[in-house]
């Protein structure tokens, strides 16, 4: 993607991603987790465990929300992100199964060497669930 100083303040928006129980299950199956001796019962899978931790229902793993943002940056700004890029984010609100997530990025600064981005993810109630910053190196010419 070609971006220059005139792109500062431009906002880029993803298509919505439905993070439902099926998506969470597929994600969980695609990562390598430590072996367990008993079935996984925790805040991501169990109503009681979630309530005990203070949530109204099981919540999606923060890793999945973070992964969606990293993917969005890669798709929007290109493979340079994997050579010198940086993402830093706080998971500020829980994501419940069934939430539709939209990833957004705004160009804060465009130098010769890199773009600085403000990034955030919103649920379908307009709440920010992830906020952060990212850096994407520009391709060498």
């Amino acid at each position: 993607m070609s971006t220059d100083a005139s792109d500062v303040a431009r906002e880029i928006v993803s298509t919505p991603y439905l993070l439902d129980a099926d998506a969470a299950k597929a994600y969980s199956a695609a990562i390598e987790s430590p072996p367990r001796r008993a079935p996984r019962v925790n805040i991501h899978t169990d109503d009681d465990a979630a309530r005990k931790a203070g949530y109204r229902a099981p919540i999606a793993a923060g890793e999945q929300t973070y992964a969606l943002m990293a993917n969005f940056i890669l798709d929007s700004f290109g493979a340079e992100f994997l050579r010198g890029g940086r993402l830093e984010a706080a998971l500020v609100k829980p994501v419940f199964y069934g939430d539709k997530l939209t990833m957004r990025a705004r160009v804060l600064e465009a130098s010769r060497s890199a773009l600085q981005l403000e990034v955030w993810t919103e649920n379908d109630r307009g709440e920010r669930v992830l906020t952060g910053t990212a850096r994407v190196p520009r391709p060498s010419r």
């Binding site: 695609a30 805040i43 931790a53 203070g54 923060g62 992100f81 940086r86 706080a90």
Partner: protein
């Protein structure tokens, strides 16, 4: 398991400077495909080719493998923050070495937080691939305390 020598995952056993790992693995093309599918990826970078690239955070969960290499039990944690620096793409069939270190532990507003920094390198060339850190709130007896 009676012969499990690992420490219990609790605040008393977590301290700054504690090293975790290394762990080793081969990046599986099947995992790249499954992860890409699970996160609705259509980027051709992740499809089978001579240079099939893993999605950026496919091995983010390595922190859990590092923790499990040293600790057992506990109620898990809540992911609060994360940062990642991407240095080079992780490729299918690459052998990777990941190791980490607890960089801080603190009680703040009644909660127990810890930071774990970890990095993954090509196990053969030692090239740095990704450096990252998780900030987690430890659940104690199932609760955020």
């Amino acid at each position: 398991m009676a012969d499990d020598q690992r420490l219990l995952m609790c605040p008393e056993n977590l301290h700054e400077g504690l090293r975790l790992g290394p762990i080793f693995y081969v990046v599986k093309p099947e995992q790249i495909e499954a992860f890409a599918k699970a996160t609705a990826r259509t980027n051709p970078l992740h499809t089978k080719s001579s240079e099939q690239i893993a999605p950026p955070t496919m091995r983010l969960q390595d922190y859990a493998l590092l923790i499990a290499s040293r600790f057992r039990g506990g109620s898990g944690g809540v992911h609060a923050k994360h940062w990642s620096e991407f240095h080079a793409p992780m490729l299918a069939n690459q052998t990777v070495k990941t190791e980490g270190r607890i960089t801080s532990v603190q009680r703040k507003r009644g909660k127990f937080y810890f930071d774990l920094e970890y990095e993954s390198r090509d196990a053969v060339t030692d090239e740095l691939l990704v450096r990252q850190a998780i900030t987690s709130v430890l659940l104690i007896e199932g609760k955020i305390q």
